[in-house]
């Protein structure tokens, strides 16, 4: 049978999420690169006590109204903050859980103050490398980032070549939710611009990787030299509805500008 990793809906893609799962969430805190439709579906699906692994913990729909003062906020944007609003999150492993502006206190930060969620703050590069280590079968690695700081607390420190290194372990996850641009039915992926970010890093790092894309193209249409994520890293592909696709989004953006 021809391999076909394309699933019919975002709801179908997240139907097997379970309470207590560890979930990698791609993106970099902005609408581009965020697996928005998967986030929304996971919100509806309702799995609880999640550990989310991400660069930014997310704003959620309510705070996005304030975020709109600082940056463009499209309607379809739906991030991990809403999972926190829904009380689905138990813990975050993140590099950038807090924004400096006092106007932008996220649902996660509020719940953190109330002791309702836990945070494990990780330097961004160490976060990326720990996710890669899970994908690449590395047992642990000595990292030169963090000695003399809060990061080394409780960790083994070793001097290598005269420099202190902290022993870091892979982050093993049950699910990875990522945003890509195009896919084929085999699961090959390409991204668009800086939306590659943590998405490409996370592809293949969890037991199950689910990609949210604009379009599924015919096998052979993606240039073999340009495929960023080879098919074997991807388990499911779900396609955005038209209003969330890049071309439409850019077109609406432009029209808004022209109206102003």
């Amino acid at each position: 049978m021809p391999i076909n990793k394309v699933v019919g809906s975002f709801d179908a893609a997240v139907k097997d999420f379970f309470d207590g799962a560890t979930v990698l969430i791609g993106g970099f805190g902005t609408p581009g690169g965020c697996p928005s439709y998967l986030m929304e579906a996971l919100g509806k699906q309702g799995a609880k006590d999640l550990t989310i692994v991400c660069n930014n913990v997310g704003f959620g729909k309510e705070l996005m109204k304030v975020v709109a003062m600082f940056m463009k906020v499209p309607d379809w944007w739906y991030d991990g903050g809403e999972l926190t609003n829904n009380r689905q999150v138990k813990k975050a492993i993140a590099a950038f859980p807090v924004l400096a502006s006092p106007l932008l206190v996220s649902p996660f930060e509020k719940q953190l103050r109330d002791g309702e969620v836990e945070i494990d703050i990780v330097p961004q590069g160490t976060l990326a490398e720990r996710i890669r280590a899970a994908k690449a079968g590395i047992g642990a690695f000595y990292c030169p980032v963090g000695p003399g700081t809060i990061v080394e607390k409780g960790k083994e420190v070793r001097v290598i070549d005269g420099r202190k290194h902290v022993l870091e372990y892979p982050i093993k996850a049950d699910f990875g939710l990522i945003r890509a641009y195009k896919a084929d039915r085999l699961g090959n992926l390409i991204y668009r611009g800086t939306s590659r970010t943590f998405n490409a890093t996370m592809a293949g790092a969890a037991k199950v990787t689910i990609a949210e894309v604009d379009e599924v193209v015919e096998v052979g249409e993606l240039d073999p030299e340009s495929i960023v994520t080879p098919a074997l890293y991807v388990d499911m592909v779900a396609v955005r509805p038209e209003e969330g696709r890049t071309q439409i989004v850019q077109k609406i953006s432009k029209e808004e500008q022209l109206r102003k």
Binding site: F28, L112, E129, G148, G193, T197, V228
Partner: protein
Amino acid sequence: MAEKERLSRETIAFRVAREFEDGMVVNLGIGIPTLCLNYPTPDKEILYQTENGCLNFGCNATPEEADFDLVNAGGQMVTTKPGMSLFSHDESFAMIRGGHIDLCVLGVMQVSEKGDLANWLLPERGIGSIGGAMDLASNAKKLIVVTEHTTKDGKPKIVHECTYELTAVECVDMIVTDLAVIDVTDKGLVLKEVAPGWTVEEVQELTEPKLIIAPDVKEVQLM
């Protein structure tokens, strides 16, 4: 004492950009550092790296150019540039951790006389974001930090020992403030330049560690 004028954010960025050498790979932190993008002289070709996965991007995008899929580390939309390349986060930090960034400019909350840097925890909120600052501070070939010379209530931000949570130890090479340019050396902090209208003594007064005064100390060099 009446408040004397200090260097503006733009002037600080302008001064920092004078340190950019032709052909360098430069990473700019959020805030004042990002402003540096506008100031290197046109005879220099600089490759800017942003840790979210791009090398050699252009300037900040106009609303017309804006594309959700091309942002810098601060989440601002930027433009493409010929010779740009894109990569994943693990690759980006392989570059950073591996010492492939020639120069990094970061904002700072405190810096110590040994060059320790604190710039992430927001004390009033009991939390903060490490982001990519630890990776960059620990591994860039040269690290310049920019800051106001003092806190809002006039306390020195250049201190004997950082009291805030550290970002990295002994990592800063140069400090550019709204009052001074200071080199971090094995012997201590060397005051190289002072803001126009300010004296060496006035700068020392607002600085906790004893400054070594460079023999050729001068006004902040903007040309």
